[in-house]
Amino acid sequence: MAKEIIDGQTMTRALTRITYEIIERNKGIDDLVLVGIKTRGVFVAHRIESRLKQLENISIPVAELDITPYRDDVAVNEKDAQDYKAEPLDFDISNKHVILTDDVLYTGRTIRAAMDALMSSGRPKKISLAVLVDRGHRELPIRADFVGKNIPTSQKEKIRVFMKEIDGEDKVEIE
């Protein structure tokens, strides 16, 4: 049975808080770019971007990152079959502070893959990580800088993030 653990309002608040923390820790938002990991990480990035725009009146660039070719948990032959090439980012991230965004932080493998992809398209000044949910069980030494909500889980459980842009509503479920 799926149980709702974060409702729309809490998600809104979490994203707003992440935005405030980004401003506070960077003492402003110069040189900032947001890179969202497909699919829901992109929506997280756009929501943070729109909040920053409302608060600071500055638009910062948002890019989408497709990390499929960099994943190490997808079988090699499968990768070959697709013959995937990562799409280049649509702007230069050299000497920028990149904030990588995703919906759920779990093993850390996605993030490692995302960092590989980023590094191959430039040399950012700094990479930070913002996630909506941190559910624990890391398999790599990776930690989020901005966390919407820490949700301790067992590995058997499933976390599912719903976002308005694609799922019609904002919520997080556990089952």
Binding site: Q9, R13, I23, E24, R25, R51, L55
Partner: protein
Amino acid sequence: MKRYLILEDGTVFPGEGFGSSVITTGQLVISNNRTGIEQSVTDPDAEGQIIAFTIPGVGSSGINRDFYESINYQCKGVVIGSASSESVDGSISFEDWITTLKIPGIKNVDIRALSKYIYEHGEVKASIMDTHDEHAIDQIKALVLPTDLVKQVSTKQSYPNPNIGLKMVIVDLGLKYSILRQLSYRDCNSVIVNYNSTPEEIASLHPEGIIFSNGPGDPKDLPKTIENIKVLQKQFPIMGIGLGSLLVAMANDCQIIKLPNPHHESSLAVKEVASGKIDFVNHNHSYTIDQKSIGSSDFIVTNICVADGSIEGIRHEFLPIISVLFEPEAAPGPTDGYYVFDEFIDLINSTKNQDWSI
């Protein structure tokens, strides 16, 4: 008994007296609260105020002792159109209650004309008297309202509100008990101190966060507290509520202005700038932060009032300071603002292991 509400410019509103029969003088404020009348009357913000309730049948929702906001009621008088003789919960009627509290009241006043007058002319001094001759009007004109309202309501001695969570110090500028209720609900281990406590005294309590509470009067009358904030904000996370938020703003070189239409309403819409979310919250303030001065400060505007666009919430760009002019603890009014307390606790936790101090 015939009594008169006299404004400082000589305008007279006749009515009928109830409650205490003493002659009283204070700042007249218009309140559009529909429920939670007992919260408005017992609110320390009402120190020195005569409150005019605009709703008909005041008190029909009942008077509940659980909702008192202070022990010593400071309200100088109440003005109403009509009171309800019964309440839905069968508790004491409004008139009997005001009589028990020994607060002077006046009823059968043309409350619509009065509130319209105040919205056009701004807040004025007023008096509830038995006569309305020249002499009475001269008296009210000559009267100077006290400026030490906070001194009257702030606790003289520190007292604890023990719990097991975060250590908070609340600087009492006219603290409403509902702020403590909200902190208790979040397990905060609080100590409430006098408004003039020195930064050293406060630091010796090792707080993890400091709250500057709501309160009555003009923030310009509290220069010492402003100086204290300048010192404390370099060491501790700070939250300002109501009067406290104005002091926090002034400590960071923001200008304070009087609102053309003061906010005394239990349900006024406020927009969260970042997300566009609308909250209905309780307001009780006559001042706001000047928009012009915010640009040159290190604050970002987090909340604005939908009705008149005035600033309702600010947040420091790099110090852990949040401030709201409305009353997140509600009491009276809708509870949409409770999240501000969670916000402050999140802020404390997220800055705990970081070196942000300057």
